[in-house]
Amino acid sequence: MKAAVIQFPGSNCDRDMAVALEGVAGNGQVSTVWHKETSLPEGLDVVAIPGGFSFGDYLRCGAIAARSPIAKAVIEFANKGGFVLGVCNGFQVLTETGLLPGALMRNAGLKFICKDVGLKVETTDSAFTSSYQKRQEISVPVAHHDGNYVADDELLAKLRGEDRIAFTYTDNPNGSVADIAGVLSENRRVLGMMPHPERCTEKAHGGTDGAAMFRSILDAMATA
């Protein structure tokens, strides 16, 4: 399995993401790609867009990153059926590119939230969630100011009808519609989520509930 982690000025979870991916893919299988690049490495299976504050959250969170040179390559990769994982700022970038629907607004309580939250796994039908149990409750850290997921009624019905809500919060911290913490693309190969699975993959992290996501990805690539 070959993976790449995109780095923007202001990304700060890029190394954590690379370590989590390397944990399942093996040493040397994960590259980092600077935002000014116009193409991705050959033979990639997965692209991850990490958390952080790309371009200082100027204009809107993720807006500038979504128009960077590498974003074009990521969109092309996704449109060809590539797997893309966006966490936190990565989720914001993916909604700004249009690869995922909806938008992320300022938290309803207006405060930055940094804590472990309970999540419910809403679907196991994806390369990212297959190693979880449906409706399993897990604990994953969040750290964001703009995680309030917005979708109109029509989109919400579509996401529900197509089983594209990946995770919901058990105790909604940010005002997201229908407690949504993560959503899948129509082809189920792009996942965006506000919580950080890469921050809970080892015992030393204080929790390991994120590890199953990386195992799921490896399994999907092994059988692909």
Partner: protein, 79 residues
Amino acid sequence: MKARVHVMLKNGVLDPQGEAVRHALGSLGFDGVESVRQGKVIELELAETDAAKAEESVKAMCEKLLANTVIESYAVELD
């Protein structure tokens, strides 16, 4: 030519920041503020001198970058 772009959250999209401003105004004694919506103003200095062309190009900028049309609407003003 100067262009001024007003970006606002669409009607129906809850604006938590506007709500907080409304509450703060109330606690300062400004009664009767029924609603506050917060947006942003972006000013552009353009080389273009033809107003119609300038408007067309600024609208394209709004669609592509300046506004997130999923949640925001925009208005362009030229002078």
